[in-house]
């Protein structure tokens, strides 16, 4: 029987149980690393660095987790802050790199290319909108949940998603005829 997140968190807080924390990391590492790959244009090394930073920050601030939201949602808030901070501090450098990226080819035969192409399509958006689109389309969070995770107004979330959806449709048009 799988131990629930809250019990594992209590073990970490009460006994400093690193094994309990490693269970939480194992449980969510794949989803979080995948999300960060989507957000970073499928830069695996950067995504893993950000995921690592996210888990370490989560460990340090675990006392602040009140259990009102799901642990995973709380983890995403930290991940978003790490991601946004990274983009703020590397903005100029990242804009230069983006100009050098060649047009990505795609192969509908391979599912993994769909993920990479979607990640590249998301790069056309500012980090905040990128996160909102990812949380809505990939994680299927409601608008209010996204608003809560990202700590932005609900109206902004709705606007990001409705505008972003049209642009994404255009960017992924080749895949839509292939689906």
């Amino acid at each position: 029987m799988e131990i629930d997140d809250q019990t594992l968190i209590e073990r970490v807080l009460d006994k400093g149980d690193e094994h309990a924390f490693s269970e939480l990391v194992k449980r969510y590492q794949s989803q979080l690393r995948y999300s960060l790959r989507q957000l970073t244009g499928w830069d695996e090394a950067l995504a893993d660095d950000l995921a690592q930073e996210t888990f370490i920050k989560a460990y340090k601030s675990l006392k602040q987790f009140k259990g009102k939201a799901k642990f995973f949602t709380w983890l995403y808030r930290i991940a978003y802050n790490c991601f946004a901070a990274y983009y703020r501090s590397h903005k100029a450098e990242l804009q230069l790199n983006d100009e050098d990226i060649p047009d990505p080819g795609f192969n509908p035969e391979l599912a993994s290319d769909l993920h990479r192409d979607f990640a590249r399509a998301l790069k056309a958006f500012e980090p905040q909108q990128r996160m909102a689109l990812h949380l809505s389309f990939q994680r299927q969070l409601s608008h209010s949940e996204i608003s809560e995770v990202m700590e932005i107004p609900l109206g902004t979330v709705k606007s990001y998603i409705s505008r972003g959806q049209d642009k994404l449709k255009q960017q992924m048009i080749s895949w839509q005829s292939g689906v």
């Binding site: 690193e18 924390f21 490693s22 990391v25 590492q29 690592q52 389309f137 299927q140 449709k169 689906v179």
Partner: protein, 112 residues
């Protein structure tokens, strides 16, 4: 509406085919980087222990008739046949110290 359906299908496909990213040392890397639990410096914890031990001993000495107890214990020990000689007291004390040392060593080595 065809475009919308296709886009919804695309998103559905994206979610269904989300790959599982193998751990491959990711978790152990994080655990190795976790900060150690905050501990008091050794000198401070020793000082606290010393102060509280001294306070406890002081209160005990103040409350108990220590001089009477010491004289009673001394006379009781010296009246015993086995402890009537100084060498025997020395042997007893040595055994006590050795046993204490072994117990402290076992506690520090997490053997018990």
């Amino acid at each position: 509406m065809q475009g919308t359906n296709n886009f919804d299908d695309l998103l559905g496909n994206l979610r269904e085919t989300e790959p599982y990213i193998a751990d491959e040392g990711f978790t152990s890397g994080i655990i190795a980087r976790l900060p150690e639990a905050e501990q008091l410096p050794a000198w401070l914890s020793n000082l606290i222990l010393l102060v509280f031990t001294a306070m406890g001993s002081g209160i005990a000495a103040w409350q108990l008739p220590v001089s009477k107890m010491v004289s009673f214990t001394t006379s009781s020990i010296t009246s015993l046949p086995a402890f009537s000689s100084i060498p025997m007291i020395g042997v007893g004390a040595t055994i006590t110290f050795l046993l204490s040392y072994v117990i402290i060593w076992l506690v520090h080595s997490d053997a018990i």
